[in-house]
Structures are given as C-alpha cells and as structure tokens.
C-alpha cells in the first residue's frame, strides 16, 4: 500500500479510484432515472394521421388538393419523382380510381373515361379552372393557416371543369371509407407509408395541424415534439440555421450554415492562434479542476512544454530502451 500512500501525498497524481466508485453509482442512478422517466413520463406518441380522418375532418381540403394534383400545383410536385411516383396525378388520383373501377357508379366510371380520353392540355385546363374557382370561395388568408374551402361552397361551383369535380368527389369518398389508404399501402414500393404520407402532406389539414401545435419552421418546430416536452433541444444549432439565418429553411442553405458551424468548431476554434486560447483567457477551467495544478507539490515538471505527459511518455520510452 506504500505506493498508494505516496500518491495520495502528491497533489499532482492520484490513483484513479474514483472511476470505480463514481461510475457504478452514477450508472445505477442514471439507469433508475431512465427507467422511472420511461415509465412515469413516457415519450412523444401522437397517433399517426390517416387519410380517412383527414378526409372526414376537411373534405373541402381533400377536393381542392385533388384539383391541384391534377393541374400540377400540389406540394407533391416539389419532388414528383419521390418514391418512384413519377406523375402525382396518375399515382394519387387516376391510379386509385382505375383500381376501384369495378365498384364505381356509372357516372363515376363515365367521368374517369372522359378524363383519360381527353388530351393532356384539356385535362390540365379543366383542373386549373376548378382549382381557381375553389380558391375564389374563400378570401385571401392573412394568417399562417392554409384556408380550407367549405364543401357547401364547392358544390355550388359551375364552370368548364369537365369531369374533374366528379373525379375529386369520388376520391373524397374512397378516402373517407378507408379504401384509399389500403390501396396506397398495397402499391407503395419499399414500405407501406410512402404514398399515404405524400397524400396527407398535399392536404392543408396536416400543415394546419402542425401550425396549431407550433411545429413549423418559424415556430421553431425543429426543437419541438407534438404534445410533449422536452423535444430535441439538442438540435438548437441546426434550428438557429433553419429559422434565423438567410436561406436556412432551404436545403442548400441549411447544409451551408451547418457546414460552416462544423468547420468553425472542428478546425478554426481549436487551431487558430488567439481563438484557441479563449478558454485560457476566460479562466473558467479553474472551476473544473479538482485541485489547482499550479499549487501541486511537484509542479515544476507540469509547467514545462505543451504536452508534458507526452514528454513523459517519450522519457519513459527512452528509459525502457536503455
């Protein structure tokens, strides 16, 4: 035990016993905390949005989105090739109707066949007319919420819409009775949720729900969870880039600002003279050290050179070789 006693007398080095009594105790405390929090507090677990629910809650939004999926104005056209979709109109509107043809009414079948046999320009013209007419049913919104057209207003609309209103109404019914979600689950290429999510994100219901829960970009949604706190607070730096910095809400801007921060933290801060000495000037390290290294009994060696323990190792190697 003499060696240990020697070390306890020195304030420079000590046997790292703490690792073997602090860690097990801290580990047990941490484990218990995690188990208790897991059982008692839980975690974010908001039920999935479904096409059926979305269509029942906001039928007008569903109809409007169909017109936009047909005229190319829907959100899904931001990335029309996502999940092998290629053509949102075909994938999200016409495909489902064709699959359900066997139980559609004569009127609905007729509308589908008229649409399919019409030239592309005509199809887009009908859909655009319907889209514009729907948008006239509500005033320009000044709030962040996307306006949702009322079904009563939509049913009053008359114009050169071709078969589009019947098509949109059929999709609404297929969505409300649950057929559409099952159909999408069956045709999604790698997984069951892809087209369902695209369809939901095309409707104002999902975005408005996000706004109501404070989850959009400008509401600092990146560091929040729906109906649960704390959210991912540790994403604060990417969130600052996403919300406050110019173009941070776009993909390239987001990557640019985060890369800039990474370069600063990885390279500039630790390596540039002046910057790397900031901790020394601030002097908070004094609060961290268990004992003041400068006041240690045998402190002469520790003050020599930048990497005293590396030097020690070299010395030790030399001795070993001798």
């Amino acid at each position: 035990m003499s060696k240990i006693k020697d070390k306890s007398e020195s304030t420079k080095f000590s046997i790292v016993r703490h690792g073997f009594w602090k860690y097990p105790i801290l580990m047990i405390v941490l484990l218990i905390t995690v188990i208790v929090m897991g059982i008692w507090v839980g975690s974010p677990n908001w039920p999935r949005a479904t096409i059926k629910n979305s269509a029942q809650m906001e039928p007008g939004g569903t109809i409007w989105a169909v017109s936009q999926e047909l005229d190319g104005a829907s959100v899904s056209y931001t990335d029309p090739y996502a999940y092998g979709m290629k053509n949102p109109a075909q994938r999200l509107v016409i495909g489902p109707l064709e699959s359900a043809k066997w139980f559609l009414s004569q009127k609905q079948r007729q509308a589908l066949s008229t649409y399919i046999n019409a030239p592309m320009t005509k199809r887009i013209e009908w859909a655009k007319n319907y889209d514009k007419a729907i948008q006239k049913t509500f005033p320009v919104s000044k709030s962040d919420y996307t306006p949702v057209p009322k079904m009563s207003n939509i049913s009053m609309l008359r114009g050169n819409f071709g078969p589009v209103p019947v098509i949109a109404d059929t999709i609404l019914k297929l969505a409300q009775n649950g057929y559409l979600e099952t159909y999408f689950q069956g045709i999604s290429p790698g997984n069951t949720f892809e087209y369902t999510n695209i369809w939901l994100y095309d409707r104002p219901y999902m975005l408005n729900t996000a706004i109501r829960n404070g989850l959009t970009d400008d509401q600092w949604g990146m560091i929040k969870e729906r109906g649960f706190a704390p959210g991912p607070w540790y994403l604060i730096i990417p969130a600052v880039a996403h919300v406050l910095l110019p173009a941070g809400s776009t993909g390239p801007g987001f990557i640019f600002w985060n890369s800039l921060f990474a370069i600063f933290a990885l390279v500039l801060f630790p390596l540039i003279p002046g910057l790397r000495n900031i901790p020394k000037y601030i002097g908070l390290y004094k609060l961290i050290y268990a004992v003041d290294p400068k006041k240690s009994k045998r402190s002469e060696f520790s003050m020599k050179g930048d990497h005293y323990d590396d030097n020690i190792r070299k010395e030790h190697k030399k001795k070993k070789n001798l």
């Binding site: 703490h18 949005a49 990474a262 590396d310 010395e315």
Partner: protein, 217 residues
C-alpha cells in the same frame, strides 16, 4: 519517486490490499475500487491520473458512453419487437420511452462533456485528432436522432418525413434517402450510424487512454 514513475506506475502490477483500503474509505468504496485492479479494467482505465481530473466534470464522457449503452440495449429490444409493439402496447411504449430518455441523457452529458473540453482547452496539440473524432460523433448522433424520429412511426414521423423530404432529401445524393421508407430509415438508424458511432467512440476512448488527460491550462 519521480513524476514519470508516478505517472506510469499503473503499467506495473500493483497489489490491492482490500483490508487496508476498507479501513481508509469504507467497505463499499473499497469493494468498488477493487475492480480497478482486475483485468481487463486495469488496462482499460489505467490507474493513475492527474489529481485535477478527480472531479465529476471528468466523468461526463463516461456517462455519455453509458447512455449510449442504454440506447443500444433498449434499441435492440425495440428492433426485435417492432413498431406495433412500441407504439401500442404498455411495455413497448415504456421501453421506447426509456430509449427516448436515454437519448436525452446521451445528449445532455455529451453537451456538457464538450463544454468541459472547450473550457479546459483539451483540444490542443495532438489531441485535436481525438477532439475532431468526438465532434464528428456528435454530428453523427444528431443525424441518428433524425432517423430515430423517422423510424418511430407516429404523427411526428409522418410530418418530419415529408418536411425533410422536400427540404433536405430532395438534394443530389441525399435524394437516395427516402424518409418515408421505414425499412430504409430503420436500417440507417439501427445499423449504419450506430456501427459507425461505435467505431468512432472506440477510437475516441482508446486515444483518451493512450494520450492521457490533457495538461492543465
């Protein structure tokens, strides 16, 4: 005894006298300390460190690693049972919640660990390489968090999947990742990133062991 001998004393075999130590610090601490003398712990941890590193501030990296182990254990259980289990059964929800709180603990300890490293200037000299490895692990862990949210399968997963699809995953190369594709997302979350993290953490800990505690400012 010189400082060099003192510092490297832990490379030599050193007997642990339990009874003497029990008298000095009590039974519990002595029993826990005895592990320091058993292989492989004696080699993993080393036994002698500078006295100024005897504070809880120097336990934060270790606690981050412990949280990582909790994440791996709860994560394996979750992966074995699957989404319907962790979303709809009480036990599944509890294990998923433990996974969530382990992640909170992981980032909490990781962030204060980084603060400790910054405040003590522990990135200087050849330790910069290890600093860079540690920070890269932090960035990867943030990415891991995103794929965790996407794999969860609740409302947030749906919303974040579509939001990130139109913001980030529409860009060249990143386009290869499809955030609504559960199988792809879970593969990245439970295999690609964790294994990379495991390697990085392994190298990080080994370098800490080889290079020792950074010299005082």
């Amino acid at each position: 005894m010189t400082d060099q001998d003192d510092y490297f004393a832990h490379h030599k075999g050193e007997p642990f006298r339990f009874k003497e130590r029990k008298k000095e610090v009590g039974w519990l601490k002595a029993a826990l300390e005895s592990f320091a003398y058993l292989p492989p712990f004696n080699r993993m941890f080393g036994k002698v460190e500078p006295s100024y590193a005897e504070s809880y501030w120097y336990c934060l990296g270790g606690l981050t690693f412990l949280s990582f182990l909790f994440l791996v254990i709860t994560g394996i259980i979750l992966t074995l049972f699957g989404p319907p289990w962790w979303l709809h059964t009480p036990t599944g929800v509890a294990v998923k919640s433990m996974h969530y709180w382990s992640a909170q603990a992981f980032f909490f300890f990781l962030f204060i660990h980084v603060v400790r490293v910054w405040l003590t200037g522990a990135y200087r000299g050849e330790r910069w390489v290890n600093y860079a490895i540690g920070l890269t692990s932090l960035f990867l862990a943030l990415g891991e968090n995103l794929f965790g949210v996407l794999a969860r399968g609740d409302w947030e997963s749906q919303f974040v999947a579509m939001h990130s699809n139109y913001m980030l995953f529409g860009l060249p190369l990143l386009r290869l990742i499809t955030p609504s594709n559960f199988t792809q997302v879970i593969l990245i979350h439970v295999a690609f990133i964790p294994f990379t993290l495991l390697v990085l953490i392994g190298v990080h800990v080994t370098l800490v062991k080889l290079q020792g505690i950074a010299r005082p400012l």
